[in-house]
């Protein structure tokens, strides 16, 4: 698989990536701003994400609810998302509506502030606080999203604090904060624009220049605090959370090398060996054979700065105690460190990853997002075309070397959720009729 890529840079510093595919009259526009929750200042946790919401509230030439409406009226889909170190905005539209998408993105990159009002900020603050309740506070295990990074990154590290933010910090966000954040981070030289799908490259290039060319370059952003950490935690970390859940669930994070390194690929394959699909080690041993777990998975965060995390996530079966769950997961990890994995397990993982990489190139939106990612983190969108090769180069030896150095007991940060009130013999015959105490 090789997708065509063309790149150029505007004089104001905006990086542009083009990738044509004329199989359907569809085009995806995707913008990555190199700013995320890591860039927030103390007392303003959650601000990067709140700011993302404000970017859908109109700009100098776009009315309050118009952004969504114009794209939907054009037959397009759209959204945005905020992550630890980047924020993205994207739409997929019929190809004859490409210029509309570019105009909307340019208008909010260049001319957002005239449309910002206290009322819009207050409403979006309410919306985001409800998003926090919906995704975390009122959802079993939902707080793992902020507890795990808080446990795995030291106090003061840019990845330590909550991405969605505390209610108090959200309350404190002001229009002044909006203006400062916008002029510091939402500048063309801090962004990548990717366009993928059915378009004509030369005409699109001049369209991009017309819409984005006049937006002034930024005056630089403050550097992130030093993110260098030792390669492993150096000791076991552990937090137990008593919560409104029915079954114990254990997350274990391992400090791991950053996205893009050779060791990252070994880590990514290790996560697939451990937790991707039924044939993976944890699903086979803990779910099928020992029947201790109801579910088991593993994944990498894919962080590109400082260090990454590999995470194992296992939920107990109703008859399994939290202690038994924890013991079984650690025993399996110890077993891996002692005996390693087989060549067949590595081959299985790479075969599945290769299919997933192909599946992920089908839609224009996914393609554009990957191009923006590689351009933002590595300055080279062409890396999208060498991912399969780099995975195929991972050997059993490299996976086992990774496991011996990174899955060891003193590189495990455990976050254990336990039911607030012990659930005794929960599957007796009265389950369907039982009253709460």
């Amino acid at each position: 698989m090789h997708i065509p890529i063309e790149t150029f840079e505007l004089t104001n510093g905006l990086s542009v990536v083009l990738s044509t595919d004329h199989t359907a009259p569809i085009v995806a526009v995707n913008l990555w701003y190199h700013v995320g929750s890591a860039n927030e200042r103390p007392g303003r946790t959650g601000f990067a994400h709140l700011f993302e919401h404000m970017l859908f509230q109109g700009s100098a030439n776009v009315g309050s609810n118009e952004h969504f409406e114009l794209v939907q009226r054009a037959g397009g889909t759209l959204n945005g998302s905020t992550w630890l170190d980047r924020t993205n905005y994207f739409e997929t539209v019929p190809s004859n509506q490409l210029e509309l998408a570019l105009w909307l993105e340019a208008n909010r990159m260049g001319y957002l502030l005239p449309a910002m009002t206290q009322q819009k900020l207050d409403t979006q603050r309410d919306v985001v606080q409800n998003e926090r309740r919906w995704s975390m506070d009122n959802q079993p295990y939902g707080t793992w999203w902020e507890r795990l990074p808080a446990l795995a990154f030291p106090e003061g590290h840019p990845f330590h604090h909550s991405l969605i933010g505390s209610m108090r910090d959200l309350d404190a966000a002001s229009l002044d904060d909006i203006a400062t954040f916008f002029s510091t981070y939402y500048t063309p030289d801090n962004a990548v624009l990717s366009i993928a799908g059915d378009f004509e490259a030369a005409a699109t290039r001049s369209m991009v220049e017309r819409h984005f060319g006049a937006i002034p370059r930024g005056s630089g952003k403050p550097p992130l605090a030093d993110m260098t950490l030792a390669p492993t935690f150096g000791c076991a970390l552990r937090e137990v959370v008593s919560d409104d859940v029915m079954l114990p669930r254990l997350f274990i994070a391992f400090r791991s090398p950053v996205l893009g390194t050779d060791e990252y690929f070994a880590a990514s394959v290790t996560s697939a060996v451990l937790g991707l699909k039924k044939g993976s080690r944890l699903q086979r041993v803990l779910v099928r054979e020992q029947q201790i777990a109801a579910e088991a998975a593993a994944f990498t965060y894919d962080l590109s700065k400082g260090s990454d995390l590999l995470v194992v996530d296992v939920t107990a079966r109703p008859e399994t105690s939290a202690a038994a769950l924890e013991a079984a997961v650690h025993a399996e990890l110890d077993h891996l460190v002692a005996d390693g994995v087989t060549a067949a397990e590595v081959a299985r993982a790479i075969a599945l990853i290769e299919t997933e990489l192909t599946v992920a190139l089908q839609s224009a939106g996914d393609r554009a997002d990957k191009l923006s990612m590689f351009a933002t983190y590595f300055g080279d969108p062409g890396l999208v075309n060498v991912q399969a090769e780099r995975y195929r180069a991972v050997t059993e030896e490299r996976v086992n070397a990774y496991i011996r150095t990174h899955l060891v007991p003193d590189n495990r940060a455990s976050l254990l959720y336990v039911p607030r009130e012990p659930v005794h013999a929960p599957l007796q015959d009265d389950l369907a009729m039982a009253e709460p105490p």
């Binding site: 037959g75 997929t92 509309l100 001319y111 309740r133 075969a351 599946v359």
Partner: protein, 462 residues
Amino acid sequence: MTPTAGGAPTTKPLPAAPRDYRFPRFERRTLSNGVQLLVASVPKLPLTTVLAIVEAGASVEPEGQHGVAALTARLLLEGAAGVDGAAQAERFESIGASVESQADWDVATVSLTALSHRLPEALALVRDLLRWPTFPEREVQRLKEQRLADLLQQLAEPRGLADERFANAAYAPTARYASPEEGDAASVRALTRLDIEAFYAARYQPAGTTLIFAGDVSMDVAETLATSLFGDWTGHRPKAAPRGVDAAQPGRLVRVIAKADASQSELRIGHAGIPRNAPDYFDVMVMNAVLGGLFSSRINLNLREVHGYTYGASSAFEWRRGAGPFVVQTAVKSDVTGAAVQEILNEIDRMRSAPIDEDELTLATSYLDGVFPIRYETTAAIARALANLVIHGLPENYYDVYRSRVRAVSTGGVLRAAQDHLHPDELRVVVVGDPAVVAAPVAKVTGIAPEIMSGHGGEVTR
């Protein structure tokens, strides 16, 4: 459109001329034993999706065996043709093939996605599990326990709990749709290996099976593969689905499912809807898009963008062969629960009392028309679209006329659809939340004192 001096263009650009789009061509064949084939050759990437659609959904389960359809479908992956589940998974995964098996209300579906050069091997494994599943006792017990664990988890999970309690409130107690698709604790606990074997024998038959191929594969290759793997499968024709899956419960009903100290209320408001093959399907779909189907719909703009009550609010008709539910769903901050319910009731009334603006109509129809090609970018999405043709018996040219049917919907049709299919007097209001905070305000806006129930289904107080 002219650029301003030194600035970017200030007015909205006009669209260029649209390029034609056609839904992928597909062909049908039928094997001599009744297995049907639908093949869409889409050779963009070296990837093929195959769906095996079997007439074995939850709607045809025998009385008292709720959950047998889902369990049977899942157990296909837990042992077949003399190979146990672990080895079966290993065989699929070592060639990078992804396989899933599940049953919904209407059918059971085995879905396979594989790189094209692995398709013959992967499809042979699908043949094994469809034709020669072994249902090992140990795996039957394990997957039953798994389902019971899911049910237990749901008691602490407001969204799933709200969905389940809403379905229970919307249908008559005897309707199959009133109880969970995958069965409740009592029905699942009672299922035996014999029940599963009997359900399999009755429902998994060549004449009730369709193989759908979408991706990098030709009709001839697909037919050759299907004939060699499924051509000698013999059996009987499965019986048609029984009636009575969807009987509605009359009257209004308000329930609060107690979750003490909940920071939010999960809301479900609606009633039994209409079947997928309703003659005014397009009117209803457009009506729902305006009401709550789009981000820019009335309900979402009202609850989220005007009031800030929620992160999102939507409405949907769930399309099944029988009359699936119509439901408005959202999660709101606990102390605005009454106000949010009131706004939703108002929006439903407003939809029925006056025609929508021309502007609202064109927003919905131009969205549904324009987004059509974007929906079919992947082999999985194309295969799923073809499955809907099969499951609901839609016309062969359905996807060719879809966009013109959408554009033909009028404000009059939308008003008629709202008046015919939204029933304010039949609404069920289900709230998973803190009764101490929400019961009184909900009683006030609905005019009905809510039944307060536990997550387990029992009533706490009235």
